[in-house]
Amino acid sequence: MNATRTLATTARVLRQLRHDPRSIAMMLFVPAVMLVLLYWVFDGKEQQFNSTGASLLGIFPLITMFLVTSIATLRERTSGTLERLLAMPLGKADFIAGYALAFAILAIVQAALATGLAVWALDMSVAGSPWLLLVVALLDALLGTALGLFVSAFATSEFQAVQFMPLVVLPQLLLCGLFAARDTMQPVLEAISNVLPMSYAVDAMNEVLRHTDVTGTFIRDCAIVAGVALLVLALGAATLRRRTA
């Protein structure tokens, strides 16, 4: 790996986004708007707002980064820029790390806005440190980036790429514990939810919500999300072929 090339790629991805202020605005502010909406929906039901809100904080980064990454890397593949880059002295790891870093920066800003709003303006009562919420959001964004990169290899158009969203994200959303506690689900569903990474991101958020200290469960959850993200990133790297048909 080469730091100059990785950072140049990060800077380039961020520069591309800078020419698209509308996308940036949506990425950064949609989660915050949704939280406000949720606050009104659970008008006065503090308990419910707390746990659903915390879960959402663990879901937004994954969805946003999944969408952005899958479209961005699909564009690289179809526009010929990926072919050009891979004919140059750019390591695949540099390419992937460059993207991951760019979207991690965005995810931090997004999560900071959403978490700050939830904790200070909407009075979400978090027992643990709000910083831990940011850590989970970051790992979660990394997971979204990894999944997006991976599925972009199987899409041949942006139309297909967005269709992967419901396929990859919806099952995780339904089974992550947001709609029904995971341990109350039918055993088969619970088993499935146990192997889906978003479950652990949501779990980790709720750990921070309820415990003042960093719990063992929290660390386990974070390790799982990070581990799956790295695994999927490696799979994504394998789909970047220098030589194509």
Binding site: A8, R12, R15, S79, G80, A87, M88, T244
Partner: protein, 257 residues
């Protein structure tokens, strides 16, 4: 002893490529010398782009011997020595021309200060200095393909592989670019492999490779080709060779029956 610079930039022996289920390149033998412009000509679909992709190492299912500067095509040390322009402009549409060049210069490992002068030079070479700050999505087709060409000029590559770099450009610009190619070939001893459909450009090459359905049907310099075929232009020579090939194929076909 063989002098190092006598060794051709590209050397192909029995080069074969399969795309899909088809044999797209069918056992090619050719050399591309240094310090010269080699034109690659042939009808649409004959395999020009495939050959170029094999040379730069982005084509899968390549068999036979294919070396660039003595190393197997596509090997890592070659990646900073080759400038490659794909047939469709491959640049980021949501960046300006200058931002595109700055990024690719960083990927090529050109030191920052050096990069600034090279980016300026490349922009000037393709006559885009005035449009350097425009988003490439807002450029005209010809301007866009010039941004793509400018990227390939970065880092003073020893081999330029240019897939139809002058398509859609006006005669003045085309002449200027060809002058640039000649300058690069003579001043830097660089090898240039350029594909084209425009036959008057063929006259400006030092050597020509004529292709037809995955094979090379002539490998000569333009003068020799015209003399050998007894024609006034390369275009007529090319048509004469293709017609002769077609006739031979039909004869062979009827002989089998």
């Amino acid at each position: 002893m063989m002098n190092l610079s006598d060794e051709p930039a590209i050397r192909a022996r029995g080069l074969r490529v399969i795309r899909g289920s088809r044999q797209v390149l069918d056992g090619l033998d050719f050399d591309v010398p240094r310090g010269q412009i080699t034109g690659l000509l042939g009808p649409s679909g004959c395999g020009k782009s495939t050959l170029m992709r094999a040379v730069v190492g982005t084509q899968a299912k390549v068999t036979g011997d294919l070396t660039v500067f003595g190393e197997p095509a596509g090997s890592a040390p070659l990646r900073s020595r080759i400038g490659y322009v794909t047939q469709a402009a491959s640049v980021y549409r949501d960046l300006t021309a200058r931002q595109n060049l700055e990024y690719f210069a960083a990927i090529l490992g050109i030191p920052r200060k050096e990069a600034r002068t090279q980016v300026e030079q490349a922009l000037a070479d393709v006559d885009l200095t005035d449009h350097a700050e425009a988003l490439t999505a807002n450029l005209s087709g010809g301007q866009l393909s010039r941004v793509s060409l400018a990227v390939a000029l970065l880092g003073a590559p020893e081999l330029l592989v240019l897939d139809e770099p002058t398509v859609g450009l006006d005669p003045v610009l085309r002449r200027d670019l060809w002058n640039l190619f000649h300058r690069i070939a003579s001043e830097r001893e660089a090898a240039i492999l350029v594909s084209s459909h425009v036959m008057d450009e063929a006259e400006r090459c030092h050597r020509l490779l004529l292709m037809r359905s995955g094979r090379i049907i002539a490998d000569d310099d333009p003068d020799a080709l015209r003399v050998r075929m007894g024609t006034a232009t390369v275009e007529e020579a090319f048509l004469k060779i293709v017609d002769a090939e077609k006739a031979a194929e039909i004869e062979k076909g009827s002989a089998v029956q």
